[in-house]
Symmetry: C2
Subunit: 241 residues, 2 copies
């Protein structure tokens, strides 16, 4: 039975403060929940309209599901999983770092891109939006089960990092004309302000995606689409070598 | 003075039915409105808290602005522009066609990408989300003033099109290994279902963005990020020739 305390807990998890306090986050929908069940994430509690997954669950009505869901069209179930502790950051191969990305949809898309391009580590500045925000979890389409997301003091992390540090800037070198390595860190910046001045001083190679439109064309690309293009270039370039 | 009729008109323009009926759409914020004022779009009516643009306007209070705005944090002004009639479609160079893209954020990002990569024509199936939807207009960041968006019967349009027709599929040829032309049509499909069966029969070259993650990795990329990667490849490839 769905109790008042369940409702209170689930709705509180929209806020980062309560996610940290309870060490829990919400996953919705059959496909998403199944991906988390198949992963190393630990299920805390499952609410469903039916026995869908073959694990212990609390049966709820469609009406109750609508009441606790963050979605306009909830899909049969909502689950609470434990937030894992920060994993060991593997700096082998290519890694991506985000310097203060704020939009949950952008972070979700970037996690999905990391998954597609085989990037195992996504390093986020502490100011970057929380990857357990329900909108991020929903946007990752399960990729959060395969990409390790770590929140760090980005200055300290990059200071300790010993390979090439790439940053995207409007005035960087044309990415199509660079020889791109198979190892390194690629930094993407905040939606409005780009990479912060502090982090900029730590960048060893400034790159840019050239603009082909005329001079009046848009001043910048969305950070998630820029991430996609940059990752595609690194992977293509390395594969051709 | 802001009248009841103004409020009724502006709020009605959230719906496509009323945008078509009045032939008007909404642009918000100083930067966006300025870009439309500098373009060939015709201003119908401007509401602002102050004389910002040096053109005729109806003065409103911040409270009234919040009442008529679609945004959480409206920025000083809201303008109604006339919807232009379908422009002549120029099929020279590269064009992009969307087969039933439904998400306003995706369409907005794709319009911005077309602007960045110098694609002047975006051809949309009649089922694709309306580019004058307020969420699309906001997401384009002014790129809608530079990219001509036309809604057509996509079957008929492609039937008449006489250059290569590229479509993105999971089982297409590796885009990194193709010689890509400077002219042609690139089709991107619906978020959930991809390119429809009808349109698929008209595709002359099936392409794919290779996945580098392991077999369990995400099944697909977001349509806007896929558009970005494909356009980057076409433009890079042609520039190198």
């Amino acid at each position: 039975m769905l109790t008042k305390n369940h409702i209170k807990l689930i709705t509180s998890l929209k806020q980062k403060k309560f996610r940290s306090q309870h060490n829990l986050f919400v996953v919705e929908g059959i496909k998403g929940i199944q991906e988390f069940l198949n992963s190393s994430f630990e299920l805390h509690q499952l609410f469903a309209v039916d026995d869908i997954f073959g694990v212990d669950f609390i049966q709820i009505s469609e009406k109750e599901l609508h009441r606790i869901s963050n979605l306009k069209s909830p899909n049969k179930a909502i689950a609470l999983f434990n937030i894992p502790s920060n994993s060991h950051i593997v700096t082998k191969g290519l890694s991506v770092a985000l310097d203060d990305v704020r939009d949950p949809g952008n972070l979700g898309t970037i996690i999905r891109l990391c998954d597609w391009f085989g990037i195992q580590n996504l390093i986020c500045s502490n100011e970057t939006v929380d990857c357990y925000n329900p909108k991020v979890v929903q946007a990752t389409m399960g990729s959060l089960t395969r990409v390790a997301v770590n929140y760090v003091d980005l200055n300290v992390f990059i200071d300790d990092y010993d390979k090439a540090v790439f940053g995207t800037f409007m005035d960087g070198d044309n990415i199509y004309e660079q020889s791109l390595p198979s190892e390194g860190l690629i930094i993407l910046g905040n939606e409005a302000n780009g990479i912060s001045a502090n982090i900029e001083t730590l960048v060893t190679q400034r790159i840019t995606i050239p603009r082909f439109g005329d001079l009046k064309a848009t001043e910048s690309l969305n950070v998630a689409t820029a991430t996609g293009i940059v990752l595609s270039e690194f992977k293509r370039s390395f594969t051709e070598m």
